[in-house]
């Protein structure tokens, strides 16, 4: 199977990456080359195989319910693109 131009635009939108029409066409070519590489795995019979999500077969460790983090707002906000009155500023959010 191959990826259509609409697919490229749809996933670019989902991923919040702007692509021009020209870029979308180029990206489509590249992605299709990569998907030809990926395709070979799709034919493999994996019936009954348990998907492997983690490298180690371990259970999640649980953290005690204790407050350990102090307020470091000032430090954190020194790297913010735009902050004011302790808030991060973004273009208007409309719900």
């Amino acid at each position: 199977m191959s990826i259509s131009l609409d697919d490229v635009k749809r996933i670019a939108r989902l991923a919040r990456i702007r692509v021009s029409d020209v870029q979308a066409a180029q990206t489509q070519d590249r992605l299709n080359t990569i998907f030809r590489l990926i395709e070979e795995m799709r034919g493999v019979d994996t019936t009954g195989v348990e998907p492997m999500a983690h490298a180690q077969d371990m259970a999640q460790r649980l953290r005690p319910d204790v407050v350990t983090e102090p307020d470091r707002r000032e430090v954190y906000q020194t790297v913010a693109p735009q902050a004011e009155n302790g808030l991060y500023l973004v273009p208007k959010v409309i719900e």
Partner: protein, 484 residues
């Protein structure tokens, strides 16, 4: 001067023949001289380095130092380092000064290892040539027209060019082992979970693993002793007793069973590499090891599975780079969506965007089972192959890469060719096993060749032992590029 290994520098410090400040100054001088041509460092900050060196000397003088106290090190620029730029090779983080230290950085600081700087890398560790870095490619010290490999290309090159005695790296599909091979140094990717990922900027969380890059297996062991260990802030960190990874270095190899996967010695392996690896095998037989053929039948699918799983995780991991709390924000936008889309289009390079798109696609509605779940099932099959192989052998040996260092620009327009560079290394990440690369010869053009040793889970001390015994009787790892 003998090879400036960590062991050697540690001895100099212990004997009072050099101070950390002096060592750091020497390395900083060399960086100043060589880095403009090699571009192995993104950030060098001599003042900070020397402040850390002074503290390290004091620590050693107080008697509370340890083996590596005072020995300088370089860090791949994906380890968050408080007060230092931490860019991950990306425009997205070009101005990001980390407000905290990664676990690995903290470990090195506690040991008193001054940082020589932050090394160049493929953007967000996505690449096998270091050409995807926003800060320009690193040059291979053996041939400046060639790539150092990637993604830990800066770390490999700086060690190869003696700009640092050792460096930290990270390995998601071969990013420590492949550049180590291409630059003629020794690098180890530990068992998944050995080295905390806390503060190591994520590429593909279930595959990423930090590790040491140095001249020798012994140095890798010494540095791993500092880097590894349980960290409660990483849920995937292994809770194991602290071990000394150098403990078995001197064990003789008599009776060792080396597995040779037939899939690694077939077509696609160029003459020089095949020859060098064969010679290494002969050397091991001389050291008393036996070889046994093993099969990793599903490993041929590892690249395909990897290019589903790694981009899928990456597409999600990189969503946090949205121009809101830190990092790059486009200067010009009309609304929120516009800000997001432009910030990410401008902040990420082509390869990173490509992988985000692949990952988004394979996770999206209607494709998840066919791609993502299928790839996870293949991952299980690949891991099972290794389990079966380790019933017949102690370590697995093969080439690290199908070829030696390629020319800058040669593969950057052909992502698939680039991806196949990691054909021998990727399966190890999928299984979560420890693997290392060490020099085993040179090709006809004088470029280093690496061989790969793969251990069973938690078999770090074992493969370091196997590598060390080889390095005792060979000098490939001591060769250095001319003209530096």
């Amino acid at each position: 001067m003998p090879t400036p290994t960590l062991r050697f520098l540690s001895t100099l410090l212990a004997q009072g023949k050099a101070s950390s400040v002096e060592l750091c100054q020497d390395y900083l001088d060399r960086i100043r001289r060589l880095n403009p041509a090699l571009n192995a460092f993104i950030t060098v900050d001599p003042d900070r380095t020397l402040v850390e060196a002074v503290a390290a000397d004091a620590l050693r003088a107080s008697g509370r130092g340890d083996v590596l106290t005072g020995v300088p090190i370089a860090h791949k620029d994906l380890f968050c380092t408080e007060g230092w730029l931490t860019t991950c090779g990306s425009r997205m983080l070009a101005g990001f000064v980390s407000p905290y230290d990664a676990h690995v950085i903290r470990q090195c600081k506690t040991m008193g290892m001054p940082s020589l700087g932050k090394t160049n890398m493929d953007e967000f560790a996505m690449g096998s040539s270091n050409e995807t870095s926003h800060f320009g490619p690193v040059k291979n010290p053996w041939d400046h027209a060639r790539v150092p490999g990637g993604s830990s290309g800066g770390s490999a090159a700086c060690v190869a060019a003696d700009m640092a005695p050792a460096a930290t790296g990270s390995d998601t599909g071969g990013s420590i082992r492949q550049p180590a091979a291409l630059c003629g140094i020794t690098g180890l990717k530990p068992t998944y979970g050995m080295v905390s990922r806390y503060g190591m900027i994520a590429f593909a969380s279930s595959l990423d693993q930090g590790g040491p890059m140095a001249r020798t297996a012994e140095d890798c062991g010494l540095l791993l002793n500092v880097m590894a260990g349980f960290d409660e802030r990483d849920s995937t960190s292994l809770q194991r007793e602290k071990e000394d990874y150098t403990r078995d270095l001197d064990k003789p190899l008599a009776g060792l069973k080396i597995g040779l996967p037939r899939e690694f010695f077939g077509e696609g392996l160029t003459g020089d590499i095949a020859k060098a690896v064969e010679e290494a095998i002969t050397q091991y037989r001389r050291l008393g090891a036996e070889t046994v053929e093993v099969g990793l039948p599903n490993s041929r699918l590892s690249v395909a599975a990897y290019y589903v799983l790694a981009p899928a995780e990456a597409s999600s991991n990189l969503s946090r780079f949205d121009g809101v709390r830190y990092g790059y924000r486009t200067p010009d936008y009309t609304d929120l969506l516009d800000m997001y889309e432009k910030t990410r289009a401008e902040g990420f390079g082509e390869e990173v965007k490509r992988r985000i798109l692949i990952g988004t696609y394979v996770l999206s509605h209607g494709y998840y089972d066919a791609y993502y779940i299928q790839a996870q099932k293949l991952r299980r099959l690949i891991a099972s192959d290794f389990r079966a192989a380790f019933r017949d052998c102690d370590v697995i040996l093969g080439p690290t890469t199908p070829g030696t260092a390629f020319r800058l620009g040669e593969r950057i327009q052909d992502p698939v060719q680039m991806y196949l560079t990691d054909i021998y290394t990727i399966a190890v990440n999928l299984a979560g096993l420890p693997g290392m690369s060490l020099p085993c010869g040179f090709d006809g053009q004088g470029l280093p060749i690496g061989m790969q040793l793969i251990g069973d889970y938690f078999g770090e001390a074992r493969i370091l032992n196997v590598a060390h015994q080889y390095q005792r009787v060979t000098d490939w790892h001591q060769r250095r590029p001319e003209g530096l």
